[in-house]
């Protein structure tokens, strides 16, 4: 009796499933491959740290970008393997300013521990980015795609320092053939280009010239005028003014910082080279060539200076 029962059990359990299904009404089944992705329910947490960045001051580089490196630790209570290593992003942001991004921070080395990985992010900041604090933001996800939108709860910031920098470019300033007694002779190879290569809004540019001396005589630098405009000898007429009454052309004064007309160059990318964006152009004129000076070499013991104030 027992043998019969055992045999019945064996047949029923390990036997033809169709028979069993016929009894129970269950569907037939077959072997098939299956894979299951187990993802964590816990979101990632982000810690931004870098002893040399957070709370520190970074100097811009004149006329160039500075690469700023910082580190972030991404943690997931479900295990380090649950962190999506291809989706760690960072940016520097500041109200009223364009943000600067890195969309692919990279893991450094092996896992820090069973739940954390260390990532390095590099963001390039241009020379004209605003000074003052910038927020450091990092975004990461886990394989369950539970996005933790940035590290809002900490105050990771760094300060971008102020950089006052200008670049003037010209090889030589020349005039066409002139004779003693000539008037209103414009340079034939100006302008001098002045680039703002820092992040300081320049609102006052000055030009300091000195008289030119020969052995027996001198040329008063007041005979030379400068202007940010040209055409129709604008640069030769110190009485020229804009509709608002602003000087367009000024005469140099010996040893004195004379304000360059419209001498403001706001911080910006000057590479558009349009004489306006982050840039200023200067034009020159000799209003009067002295008629009674002898033939000799004239020079100065002090260089002329274009100054940012």
């Amino acid at each position: 009796m027992i043998t019969v029962l055992v045999m019945f059990f064996l047949i029923f359990y390990f036997g033809n499933f169709n028979l069993r299904n016929a009894i129970t009404g269950r569907l037939s089944s077959r072997e098939t491959n299956a894979s299951i992705s187990v993802v964590g329910v816990s979101p990632v947490t982000i810690t931004v740290f870098n002893g040399t960045l957070t709370g520190a001051t970074v100097d811009p580089t004149e006329d160039s970008n500075v690469s700023i490196v910082f580190y972030a630790v991404i943690s997931d209570n479900d295990g380090a393997a649950d962190i999506n290593t291809t989706f760690v992003r960072a940016n520097f942001s500041r109200t009223g300013e364009a943000a600067y991004h890195n969309n692919s921070c990279s893991q450094i080395g092996a896992n820090l521990n069973t739940t954390s990985k260390n990532f390095s992010c590099t963001i390039n900041m241009p020379y004209f980015a605003s000074p003052l604090p910038w927020n450091v933001r990092v975004m990461a996800t886990d394989l369950g795609n539970k996005t933790f939108f940035y590290n809002w709860n900490d105050n990771s910031t760094f300060t971008y320092a102020q950089l006052q920098a200008i670049q003037i470019s010209h090889t030589a300033l020349t005039w066409p053939s002139v004779a003693p007694g000539d008037i209103n002779q414009s340079s034939n190879n100006d302008p001098t280009i002045i680039n703002n290569t820092g992040n300081y809004n320049i609102t006052n540019l000055t030009f300091q010239g000195f008289n030119l001396y020969g052995a027996t005589s001198f040329i008063n630098v007041a005979n030379i005028t400068i202007s940010n405009s040209t055409g129709l000898s604008v640069e030769c007429n110190p009485s020229n003014r804009t509709a608002g009454g602003t000087n367009v052309t000024v005469s140099l004064v010996n040893g004195t910082n004379v304000q360059i007309p419209a001498g403001f160059i706001l911080r910006n990318d000057h590479t558009s080279n349009n004489n306006e964006t982050g840039q200023e152009a200067l034009y020159y004129c000799i209003t009067t060539v002295p008629s009674n000076i002898p033939s000799e070499t004239y020079s100065t013991t002090k260089g002329w200076v274009i100054k940012l104030i």
Binding site: T57, D59, P60, T61, E62, D63, S64, P131, L132, T159, A161, Q162, L163, Q164, A165, I166, Q167, I168, S169, H170, T171, A172, L173, T174, W175, S177, V178, A179, P180, G181, Q185, T192, T197, G198, Y200, Q208, L212, I219, Y284, I286, V289, I293, P294, S295, E296, T297, Y298, S299, T300, T301, K302, G303, W304, V305, I306, K307, L308, I309
Partner: protein
Amino acid sequence: MKISQQNLAGGQGRNFVNMERLIVIAILVVFFSTVVNAFGISSSYWRGNPYQIPPGETGTVGLRLQNMGTDEDVTVRARLVGGGEIANVDEKDYLVKAGTKDTEVLVEIKIPETDALGTKYVVTVTFETLSQTEQGVVSVGTGIDTSFDVLVVEAPPASSEIEIGTTTWIIVAVIIIILAIFIIWLVRKGKKPVRKSERAR
């Protein structure tokens, strides 16, 4: 710059000006000393972002010179032109090598003890490149006046309070250790075995 003039003999009414223009060529040339002239100054403090310091204290602000825009070294002369009542700078020529941004000019700040909180100063240092001068050439250099605010603020809490706290914890730990040793000694003393001769009594 060279201007030449030929004196013509006679004065018979000829147009000397026209003759001079025909035969006299004066070329006025003002050379800029290099193709590009550039330098910069970076600072952690500026107008509107003050350096904060308590009354009676001395501090230092570093101004960092840059020469990243040219291939030639540049020499820059520094002079203090504002805020001399509280500031001092080594007024000399600083060589800024091409491709560098770490030549530091230190501005020492010293605040009188009697200054009221909230007192403001403006410190200004002027920098100018030194240009080579030679016969017939007028060089043009660059200059920058850099200014920053100094604000007199309250001194931060004394760090000695933190030290006292640490010392207190150390004392407490020592006391605990001593007590623990004493208790262990008492316990061991209480468990001291009794001699057979004492038991016999």
